[in-house]
């Protein structure tokens, strides 16, 4: 009879057991010292486990569980019934209640039945259980038998639906009910078996990609080193006349050495260069050809010729039985090295995305069942309540429910000042909490958060195509077959007209043609630059939506700016307080003969006026109140407040009868304005809205309110004009106001009183404007707007730039989004576009020129004139480094710093 070791579950003979222990009236036998030690550390745990497979003690009380069943929610009544039936069929399940509203089945069961069994039962009945999945790495997991123990331990952890451990990847994949199980409990389960959990290789695709790149790099480098080491002896025997010792070898020895070279280059071909052959074969099956085809053909031809030449040297004319194994080994070594270097350089190109992702918080402090726990941000569910302390990052998007704070949202919305948040306000993931603590309810997690959306958008744009790439694409389709034909042609020409030994010349030149041609450089040219350029934009808070937008932006000749909200802040502000020269009667209780007048101070007028306007809801009134507050003036409570629509307001403040309003109001109340009327006209000419204020029926002064220009609009517009771009302002406002603003920011061309629906038409007129140098084609016009009402104009323009927050839907209508509200972004966007397009052109030019010069030289066109022929070794080096050069040149863009950064 055998017994089970409670620790490792091995079946052992109690007589030969390594040790025995008594615990809680039971006897336990152990197979090894290790198991005893584990048992001694926590005997209670093993004593309780009734079942070695589930780890559950059947004597424990009944358990309850809420299983989220995906198809159950709002399903038909029959669905609920079949869910219940499926679960009830399980032994040990006593009560099932499927709720179609919540989409959960609540189960009362004997803990001998595991939740994993329920999941299996539900699955076989055709339902899915909505659990969360997590992967946990397990360090040094070697013994395959331990896999089962860890799996069982994980499965027996409450609320775990399924668990599987993979020895190969050293990772456990656990499906669980995220409402309850915290990652920590799963880790404890692994630790129980003496293993150390570690974070799984991150599931973030970027990290995964990085890991894959590192792996691929090592793979390529191994192949390179092998080919490189083999190259050395092969090179030495290939040119015996130049190598001191080899020079003296007899022909027989040399032939033997060549035979050996044939053998050692075989693994170079089929291991180091296996990618070329498998790639070429796969392409051939699709009737297509690529770089792999060329390299495979070139090296295979060199090897086959060499082997024939040394094996049947008598068949070959004098001097042609020479091997080219050096070409095989060196070319493969170089091209593989080139691929490895290219991979490394490519990794740097995605730096911008990494920076964006770096904004994301790693963990969140959620409150579940009244308990605070730190979990990774991936585990946060919609509806979770999350606690955020000062100085911490907001982990996901949500709505604030308790507490309040100010949050720095500059990284996503461009709002430079911290935004105050109170209950009911939205908070955005990746923003920084500054002052207070608060709790919020998660509304968007994972790939739905604003940050994730931005990252997705940038990634999509990085992989889109610029129209300039079309030429390269067209060429690409014909490139490889044409090169193959040229190689054949070269062979024929050298064979017919070349010098002796003709066969050798013919072969070497045609192999060189195959090797030097580099279609990769063409394919990479636009893509790498685009990737870096769009990433550069993102770093400067400019989201460029596609390669096409990026390409068009460089040619912008006219920029149309919407006035309100784009050039200006879009919110009125108090700009001027003008006093009437009359004084202010300070004490009317004194006898009239001794009336003393004291000059009215600006702060007094502002205090009185703002106190009145406090009760008004007019936006202009708000500007006055804000203006007074900003100047540190304490306000008082008005009485007898009366608003006269279209005129103004009347109220009593501090015992004084105040009238504030427009000219009509003053006339209605028969208040003489005197010089104030003149002054108000000057203010109106300046684009401001003047309001008269009268104190005790005496005209006291003017309060002027205006939509003010953003701090850096002037600078940004000057920058655009300096770049040779005409700046046009378009607005629905009256001409006087519009021109006043235009004067202030240095715009000469103003389209005022344009109805929102006519903005697009105006953009169209500008596009067709014959004033443009290109005549009929018109000029490239960019439209910059901030709102949904600008959408038609944004769409009509060659490039639509939306000024807005990263969360705004308006992004959809635009080609480029300036996350920071500043107009400087327009200049930056154009700069980035110009730099990127410049880079693309360099790359394309380089790639075309390289092939256009390299291939003919390899064919030997220079031979009749200069006697110049390219060695296939040099061709291999050139080919390998041409694509590295392209990637390297694209990476140069990373160092580009826009002059007018919006940061």
């Amino acid at each position: 009879m055998t017994v089970k070791d409670p620790v490792c579950s091995m079946e052992i003979d109690p007589k030969t057991a390594f040790a025995t222990r008594e615990h809680m009236g039971q006897t336990f036998h152990f197979c090894s010292e290790n198991c005893v030690k584990q048992f001694d550390a926590d005997p209670h745990q093993y004593a309780l486990s009734g079942s070695a497979t589930t780890g559950f003690n059947p004597d424990l009380r009944r358990a309850r569980l809420e299983l989220p069943v995906v198809e159950l929610k709002d399903g038909k009544p029959q669905t609920a019934e079949s869910v219940e039936a499926a679960l009830k069929a399980l032994p040990g399940v006593s009560k099932v209640n499927a709720n179609r509203k919540t989409g959960t089945a609540s189960v009362e069961y004997d803990p001998a039945t595991t939740s994993a069994q329920m999941v299996t039962a539900l699955r076989s009945a055709g339902f899915r259980v909505g659990g969360a999945q997590v992967r946990i790495g397990i360090e040094n997991l070697r013994c395959a038998s331990c896999v089962r123990f860890i799996e069982d331990e994980l499965k027996s952890t409450p609320d775990v639906l399924s668990a599987s451990v993979n020895v190969a990847t050293q990772e456990a994949t656990v499906e669980y009910l995220p409402e309850k199980t915290a990652l920590a409990q799963l880790n404890v389960a692994i630790e129980k078996w003496g293993y150390k959990p570690r974070p799984a290789l991150s599931e973030a695709p970027e990290d995964e990609q990085e890991a894959a790149h590192a792996h691929e790099y090592r793979r390529l480098m191994n192949r390179f080193w092998f080919a490189a080491v083999v190259s050395i002896p092969v090179l030495l025997t290939a040119y015996p006349q130049y190598v001191p010792l080899v020079r003296d070898w007899s022909m027989a020895t040399l032939r033997l050495a060549w035979g050996l070279a044939a053998l050692v280059t075989l693994p170079v071909l089929f291991w180091s260069g296996s990618d070329f052959f498998s790639g070429a074969w796969a392409a051939l099956k699709h009737r297509s050809a690529n770089m792999n085809t060329l390299i495979a053909l070139g090296t295979a031809a060199a090897w086959l010729y060499s082997s024939f030449a040394i094996a049947f040297s008598s068949l070959f004319p004098e001097g042609t039985s020479e091997p080219f194994y050096d070409v095989v080994a060196v070319v493969i070594a170089l091209v593989v090295l080139g691929q490895a270097l290219e991979l490394r350089a490519k990794g740097q190109s995605s730096a911008a995305i990494k920076k964006l992702l770096g904004l994301q918080a790693k963990t969140a402090r959620v409150i579940r069942d009244g308990q605070e726990m730190d979990i990774t941000v991936e585990e946060v569910l919609v509806g979770d309540v999350i606690q955020v302390r000062p100085g911490e990052k907001v982990p996901v998007d949500g709505v604030l429910i308790e507490g309040g704070s100010s949050v720095d949202e500059s990284m996503l919305t461009g709002e430079s000042l911290p935004v105050s948040k109170k209950s009911g306000d939205e908070v955005i993931g990746a923003t920084l909490n500054k002052t207070g603590a608060f709790k919020f309810r998660a509304t968007k997690v994972g790939k739905d958060t604003a940050l994730a959306q931005i990252v997705k958008m940038v990634q999509d744009a990085q992989n889109s195509k610029a129209p300039i790439a079309r030429l390269a694409d067209t060429v690409f389709g014909y490139f490889v077959p044409v090169v193959m034909m040229l190689a054949v042609l070269t062979f024929v020409v050298w064979f017919n007209f070349g010098p002796q030994p003709r066969l050798v010349y013919a072969l070497v030149t045609s192999v060189t043609v195959l090797i030097i041609a580099c279609p990769c450089a063409l394919g990479l040219a636009t893509l790498m630059s685009l990737m870096v350029g769009i990433g550069k934009g993102a770093e400067n808070s400019i989201l460029i939506r596609s390669g096409e937008a990026l390409q068009t932006a460089q040619g912008i000749k006219v920029v149309v700016l919407d006035k309100t909200g784009t050039i200006t802040k879009g919110k009125p502000e108090l700009t001027d307080v003008v006093l009437a020269n009359s004084g202010w009667q300070i004490a009317d209780s004194e006898p009239s003969s001794t009336l003393r007048y004291q000059p009215l101070a600006i702060s007094d007028l502002l205090r009185l006026a703002a106190s009145v306007e406090r009760s008004s809801e007019h936006p202009l009134a708000e500007a006055i109140v804000e203006g007074a507050k900003a100047r540190g003036i304490a306000l008082t409570e008005p009485t007898a407040f009366e608003a006269v629509p279209g005129h103004g307001v009347i109220a009593t403040v501090e015992g004084r009868w105040m009238v504030i309003g427009n000219l009509k109001m003053m006339n209605r109340e028969s208040i003489a304005l005197g010089v104030l009327e003149e002054k108000s006209k000057a203010l109106a000419d300046d684009g401001k809205t003047p309001m008269f204020a009268a104190v005790d029926s005496q005209a006291a002064g003017i309060l002027a309110v205006a939509d003010t220009v953003k701090e850096d609009s002037v600078e940004a517009i000057a920058a655009l004009q300096k770049m040779g771009i005409e700046v046009v302002m378009v607005t629905g406002d009256n001409r006087r106001t519009a021109e006043a603003i235009a004067r202030k920011v240095g715009i000469t061309r103003v389209l005022a009183e344009v109805l929102p629906e006519d903005k697009a038409h105006n953009v169209h007129l500008l596009q067709a404007d014959p004033a443009g140098k290109r005549g009929a084609g018109g000029r490239k016009v960019a439209m910059v707007g901030d709102g949904i009402n600008d959408a038609p104009a944004l769409a009509q323009a060659d490039v639509g730039l939306a000024i807005g927050t990263g969360t705004d839907v308006a992004i959809e209508a635009s080609d480029i989004t300036l996350i920071k509200g500043s107009l400087k972004g327009v200049a930056t966007a154009i700069e980035v576009s110009r730099a990127t397009m410049g880079n693309i052109k360099q790359n394309l030019f380089g790639a075309f020129i390289y092939n256009a010069l390299g291939v003919p030289v390899a064919m030997g066109v220079l031979y009749p004139f200069l006697g110049l022929l390219l060695s296939p070794l040099i061709a291999g080096a050139a080919m390998a480094f041409s694509s590295v050069t392209v990637v390297g040149n694209a990476n140069r863009l990373r160092g580009f710093e826009p002059k007018f950064s919006a940061k």
């Binding site: 690529n290 034909m485 042609l489 279609p519 394919g523 596609s546």
Partner: protein, 125 residues
């Protein structure tokens, strides 16, 4: 001209003609997407040195669901791009990745790896 030269010349010309025919003029096999239960047109594509199948025919106006499985580690094919649809997706080796979009207009749209070495065509009818 020697016999060898005549033979080589004739062989070369023949080879060139064959290359042109093989890569450009020979008809290519097309794979028509099967329409699944949900109305989506589904195709499984294997990525290894190329896309198999590489010419996919779908109907316009219906969602297309492409299941890519990359069976190689070469970094070249780690992304598949549909530039005309502004779609791109990372293909971790050995994992099935699904890309879904709806082509609205009939036409021929290329898809490719990042550097354009591997290419395929989506024909929308």
């Amino acid at each position: 001209m020697t016999t060898a030269q005549i033979l080589v010349t004739a062989g070369g010309v023949a080879l060139c003609i064959f290359i042109a025919w093989f890569f450009w003029f020979a008809p290519k096999g097309q794979t028509r997407a099967a329409t699944g239960a949900g109305g989506a047109q589904e195709v499984a594509v294997t990525v290894k040195g190329g896309y198999t199948p590489d010419v996919i025919v779908v109907k316009a106006g219906q969602p297309v669901r492409l299941h890519f499985t990359r069976r190689e580690s070469s970094a070249c094919s780690e992304k598949v791009l549909f530039p005309d649809f502004n779609q791109s997706v990372l293909l971790p080796a050995g994992q099935e990745v699904t890309l879904e979009f709806t082509p609205e207009k009939p036409g021929e749209y290329g898809f490719q790896c990042q550097m354009g070495m591997l290419r395929g065509k989506l024909i929308v009818e």
